[in-house]
């Protein structure tokens, strides 16, 4: 099933949750909608599911207008952040719900329903919990049951709203890997919403980065990390150093200091310079584009993180390899291995 969204606009009062969004999702894709809270990602997901309606714009599934149908007719599996399981039903009945409420004409007989539920519980590896109630399960188990329930109706599309948002870090990591392999197995077009970049980059085939109701970039996880299209994407994904610079006459200045960096093809004016923390190479004083005094050094697993006060007055954090000797009080030179400059 392909999904196509055209020029979608949705306002809540004067707040534009979606401000002209265009998106195409291919059949069998696992797509992540990534953005900070308030970026409109959940609103977009809910409109695709039929739980919200846009003010204007189009949504189509396989070329047919989806907005003509309600949530009930769209055959979309939706997984909620807080599971939304039915508390008064056993796990088995929760999963069976979608099959039991089908119109009488197409409803399966009891034996078929039982077999199907069993199959789904096996798929999410929780068949031994069939008779429990949702309140007796852990968060990770509840989310897997919610997923099994959504899959019961054989959805044309699977939508997940911050599926792991309410879980602790360790369970979240396990479930990420599990979701990836599950998607590989069932291969249904899926979109999940997350504010966690690591989650988006690790799980999805393609990542859509959103901010303030607009799409900033669509690309593979490598694309959005390695070649961010906008200043927002660079700042949001990966840990970046951001410095305000001036471009004029082929020279880049930080404050009043010219930087030894190439400025070809850059529009003159106020700009932002972005460098990944680990792309800032440490050298002896006077050797690089920047110079600064080390304030603190802390060790983070494979790297050491140093806070450096640049001579221009800004303070930045860099990640250097552990074998580099850095001490508070040292004056060092810094040279960006890679950097990007965005106007504005």
């Amino acid at each position: 099933m392909t999904i196509e969204v055209k020029n979608l606009v949705k306002k809540f009062g004067s707040f534009a949750a979606l401000d002209g969004v265009d998106l195409k999702v291919d059949n069998g894709e696992l797509l992540a909608l990534l953005g900070p809270s308030g970026s409109g990602k959940t609103t977009l997901l809910r409109i695709i599911a039929g739980l919200d309606w846009p003010d204007s714009g189009e949504v189509s599934f396989n070329g047919e207008d989806a907005l003509a149908q309600g949530a009930r007719e769209r055959h979309v599996g939706f997984v909620f952040q807080h599971y939304a399981l039915f508390r008064h039903m056993s796990v088995f009945e929760n999963v069976a719900f979608g099959l039991r409420v089908q119109p009488r004409a197409v409803r399966k007989d009891e034996a078929t329903i039982r077999a199907r539920v069993k199959e789904l519980l096996d798929l999410v590896q929780l068949d031994w919990l069939a008779d429990r109630y949702p309140s007796q399960l852990s968060g990770g188990q509840r989310q897997r049951i919610a997923l099994a329930r959504a899959l019961a109706i054989e959805p044309r599309i699977l939508l997940l709203d911050e599926p792991f948002g309410a879980l602790d870090a360790k369970v979240r990591k396990e479930l990420r890997r599990w979701l990836r392999s599950l998607h590989h197995e069932i291969n249904v077009t899926s979109i999940f919403v997350t504010h966690d970049q690591e989650e988006a980059l690790e799980v999805a085939n393609r990542v859509v980065v959103m901010d303030k109701g607009r799409i900033e970039q669509i690309g593979s996880p490598d694309d959005v990390y390695e070649s961010p299209a906008t200043a927002f994407v660079h700042g949001f994904i990966g840990e970046s150093i951001e410095l305000p610079v001036q471009v004029d006459g082929g020279v880049i200045r930080l404050g009043d200091r010219p930087l030894q960096l190439a400025a070809e093809g850059l529009a003159p004016g106020a700009s932002k310079l972005f460098v990944r923390r680990h792309d800032m190479l440490v050298g002896p004083a006077g050797s690089g584009a920047f110079e600064g005094a080390v304030q603190h050094v802390r060790n983070f697993g494979p790297v050491q993180r140093a806070e450096v006060a640049l001579s221009g007055g800004e303070t930045i954090e860099i990640d250097a390899p552990r074998d580099k000797e850095l001490r508070a009080g040292d004056t060092i030179g810094l040279n960006p291995r890679r950097y990007r400059i965005f106007a504005g």
Binding site: R72, F80, F86, R87, H88, V101, Y133, Q136, R149, A150
Partner: protein, 261 residues
């Protein structure tokens, strides 16, 4: 623990025990004669029958009111929300006088109803109306917090799984509210059975027709037939207790299907 038990005994158990002791002054035969007299039986029938009917009406109408108060935002919602408490706060005699004035043959509602041939004041229908009036806040106030806690997402989940609105209500919402609904029903019923003040004004108090059991107790007391009064009281107590116990069991059963979070 000790304090709780002592307090409970002083406030509730000792008076009840006193009631039973008093009724033992009667021989079993006398006891039976009082109870099986036509007037007593009719009074009990009126009290329990109408109270149950009123509680059922309150269950349905109370649910509708709660739904509107919790799920919709409309002008004056807070005022309506406050009005629900009026039957709680209003002295029952005042309520009785007000209802009687309203439903009397020349009253605002009484007159048009009389034109239709329906007489409310001074008939059992009047008792029924008064019982509905005083019972409604019990249903609303017990169900309201539970419905507020009910996540609207579960309705969206049901909808996206293909359930119609009706299926969502029957299969998802009502079962989640069942324990609270039963509690509300029990409370409204218990209150209506014991209601005296608001009922006696509108009832007409015709023996065997519109005489409620609490009134009969008062009449017996004013005739200094204390043992008769306590005999009726004991029956009311036992029946009420049995009904409350049954509802409690039902509620337990409903709750056992929704284990505590």
């Amino acid at each position: 623990m000790g304090l709780t038990l002592s307090w409970l005994s002083i406030i509730i158990l000792i008076p009840l025990a006193g009631l039973f002791l008093k009724s033992f002054e009667l021989s079993p035969e006398q006891f039976w004669n009082i109870l099986s007299s036509r007037r007593t039986l009719n009074a009990l029938r009126v009290s329990f029958g109408l109270a149950f009917a009123a509680a059922c009406v309150n269950l349905v109408m109370g649910s509708v009111i709660v739904w509107a108060l919790v799920r919709y935002r409309f002008p004056g919602r807070r005022i309506f929300d406050a009005i629900v408490d009026v039957p709680f706060a209003l002295p029952t005699a005042v309520a009785g006088v007000a209802l009687t004035a309203l439903f009397a043959e020349k009253g605002w509602l009484g007159a048009p109803l009389a034109a239709l041939g329906i007489k409310v004041a001074f008939t059992p229908v009047g008792i029924f109306v008064a019982m509905i009036f005083i019972g409604i806040p019990f249903v609303v106030r017990t169900v309201q917090p539970v419905l507020q806690d009910l996540d609207p997402e579960i309705e969206e989940a049901a909808g996206s799984l293909g359930a119609s609105r009706w299926q969502t209500i029957i299969r998802v919402i009502l079962p989640s509210l069942a324990p609270a609904l039963l509690t509300g029903l029990a409370l409204a019923f218990a209150r209506a059975v014991g209601e005296y003040g608001s009922v006696i004004f509108i009832a007409g108090n015709l023996p065997n027709v519109s005489e409620i059991a609490p009134l009969l107790i008062v009449i017996r007391l004013s005739e200094f037939r204390y043992a008769d009064a306590t005999a009726i009281a004991v029956v009311m107590l036992v029946v009420s207790f049995v009904i409350i116990f049954a509802v409690n069991r039902l509620q337990r059963w409903a709750q056992s299907r929704i284990p505590v979070r």
